[in-house]
Symmetry: C2
Subunit: 408 residues, 2 copies
């Protein structure tokens, strides 16, 4: 357990004792509202703010400004929502029309006592309990209906949460639906709004999945390379044989949700590399990657429009990239050399200083640490150490074999 000052410990104990008597609002104010980096057991954000101190993320607290829409609160979407909630995302928009069933219990998130509730209501119940700081908006609707699509579009456009935001009202849309029709609807909405989104999916046999980044005009949209066979005029799910359902596993869905939200964090907080496409083939633990350019003959008119804009914006993009490179180059040049004519950046170091820190003492360990293996310098002294012995034995053995061959 981490060290606590006695005052903080007292406060924690007090809050634990009081928590059943606190109203939700009070809990929120006491426990969650401040995204502090302070390392105390009572700070739910300490392990996240540590990402900043460790140099992974430049400004973690920016996460509170972002809005993420999750379409489909099933095996992947619900876990993605929980991860983002625990990461302290600013606002989550949740879309689903379905109800929780006992048949969903083989995936994470929903609990048996929530059976019969809408997935959106059950999600809001669980998520607001976990982190009351997150603004939750839930939409119990089917985006593939005309009215559902209209509400979907207007909710994505709404900028009340961050009026200064450019473009739509959300920073990213995550598609976690389980059918082609719904994916095409998300694709249509995002192409129309010029909205970057991520698609996710898990195979019907439950043992593989994928995530994909879609930037309108820049990468292939979902209609750029359609599947060869699709359902037409009927509900895809009734096409399956009666009494038959797709398999699913909490493991595959947990991994896909984890990869999806990890790439969401990288995208929003600008660290690491955001994968354009990442597959997960669990039988062999194989993770294929690829990137797809948009299809100039895409059937989606909004995609063609975005492609045109992307091409037209090329000179501006190039200029910005050049300006950035030049800025970086001049920043590097600002690291003034020790001598003006010191082309190779050579500097003189005091010999005695060098000697003092040289040898094994340069590898000195902080108090409380010991070496599990002898250091390189100590190796010859430890002639009984296993690995060294073997090496010597093998060499002698080889020499004997060579001698025997030469004697023939």
């Amino acid at each position: 357990m981490l060290q606590l000052t006695s005052c903080n410990r007292m406060l924690t104990i007090l809050l634990i004792l009081l928590s059943p008597y606190l109203l939700d609002d009070q809990k929120s104010r006491f426990l969650f509202h401040d995204m502090s980096a302070e390392v105390v057991d009572s700070n739910p954000y300490s392990r996240l703010m540590a990402l900043q101190r460790m140099g992974i993320v430049e400004n973690y607290e920016r996460i509170r400004e972002f809005s993420v829409a999750i379409v489909g609160i099933g095996g992947v979407g619900s876990v993605a929502a929980e991860m983002l909630t625990r990461c302290g995302i600013g606002r989550l928009l949740l879309y689903d029309y379905d109800k929780v069933e006992l048949a969903n219990m083989n995936r994470l998130f929903f609990r048996p006592e929530q059976v019969g509730m809408t997935k959106t209501d059950a999600a809001v119940q669980t998520l607001s309990d976990i982190n009351p700081d997150v603004v939750l908006e839930s939409y119990t609707l089917n985006i593939t209906t005309v009215q559902g699509f209209e509400t979907f579009m207007s909710s994505l456009k709404n900028k009340t949460f961050r009026p200064s935001k450019e473009g739509s009202g959300v920073d990213l849309v995550l598609s976690c639906v389980d059918n082609y029709e719904a994916r095409m609807v998300v694709n249509q909405a995002c192409n129309e709004l010029n909205q970057t989104w991520m698609e996710s999916g898990v195979s019907e046999d439950a043992v593989s999945g994928h995530i994909q980044l879609l930037i309108p005009g820049e990468t292939a949209c979902f209609a750029c390379a359609p599947p060869l066979v699709v359902a037409s005029g009927v509900d895809e799910r009734t096409l399956k044989r009666e009494g038959v359902c797709a398999a699913s596993l909490p493991t595959t869905m947990g991994v896909v949700a984890g990869l999806l939200v990890q790439n969401t964090l990288k995208f929003l907080l600008k660290f690491g590399y955001v994968s354009p496409y990442l597959g997960y083939s669990s039988l062999k633990d194989y993770f294929p990657t690829m990137a797809m350019k948009p299809n100039p003959q895409c059937s989606n008119a909004a995609c063609l429009q975005r492609q045109k804009e992307y091409i037209l914006a090329k000179p501006a993009r190039d200029a910005a990239a050049n300006a950035k490179m030049e800025a970086e180059a001049s920043a590097a040049a600002a690291d003034v050399p020790l001598h003006v004519d010191n082309e190779w950046n050579i500097s003189v170091v005091d010999d005695s200083e060098q000697e003092n820190t040289g040898g094994t003492s340069s590898d000195a360990l902080p108090e409380g640490l010991t070496r599990e293996l002898p250091s390189a310098d100590e190796f010859p002294k430890h002639s009984t150490y296993g690995a060294t012995d073997t090496a010597v034995d093998d060499l002698e053995d080889l020499r004997r074999q060579l001698d025997a061959l030469n004697a023939d």
Copy 2:
């Protein structure tokens, strides 16, 4: 939503209405006890049993026979426990000495109202609610103490759950601890018991992790290749600078838990390939793999003993492998050819039959499906189809360029 017979729907509604009034035992009997493959919304196992119908797993129901021990119920261990619980594992043994803190809320599983409870108690509360069919044993102890280690060992040896089981009383141990000392203790216990285990870990900067399979005598044990620097005589966690903690993310821990339990399922239910080592480097979505043989100079005496046994058992292993190969070969030979002297297994097929099923009609789709793209035979008719046009344009363009070059 899946089709329900009205009788099943009635039963589901009745159970939902009654559920607040049912005792835990009654809930269990009503809802969970039968691992049925029936496809109804009220069956929590239908999506798991579908793995069998889809040919992924030969006998899913065997999962109820297995016992898995999870050491460390933190960010990885708790999610692993939930996944196995939702998969319907027979028995889970949970080990941890720590309490739930608000600082744990940035990882999945624990809820704010559980702050102050031991992690084992909180886990039992949540897991038994999710699936009362799983036998849960919780051990609130520190395995690195003498008494804790004794209880750990005797709990692993206990065979009451499945007296006929060979070896120890558990099928797999999952190490989900966060320090070297505890890993070495799990390693010691598993080497002594000749117990296969899986190790997992997440880096201090929260952006990478790994899982590893350890089979005593066959693969490297945790002491075969020790880290170069370890803590000695002090608690590793107090070595960290005061007021400083490691970073953690629900995403990385969710992915590591998912990969760990997926490999657990593959190991227990004998499908796919169990990874000897799988890394996850989230900044680049890179997944390194490797395999490590045991070190003949390992410092762990029990490991050396298991290595000796493994080498001694080689002739028996080879004989078993040969017998299996021969059995498979003779099973293949039992597929009698059409003619006794038909060395190349050639058979005659009726031409007219071939024609009837040939051409595009062999690609006939079930009712309700239409092709999104024209079939191969139809392509020439669709001269306006984009992709084809582009290809032709490009070729003509190339030819023109070539002609121009030749004309020079």
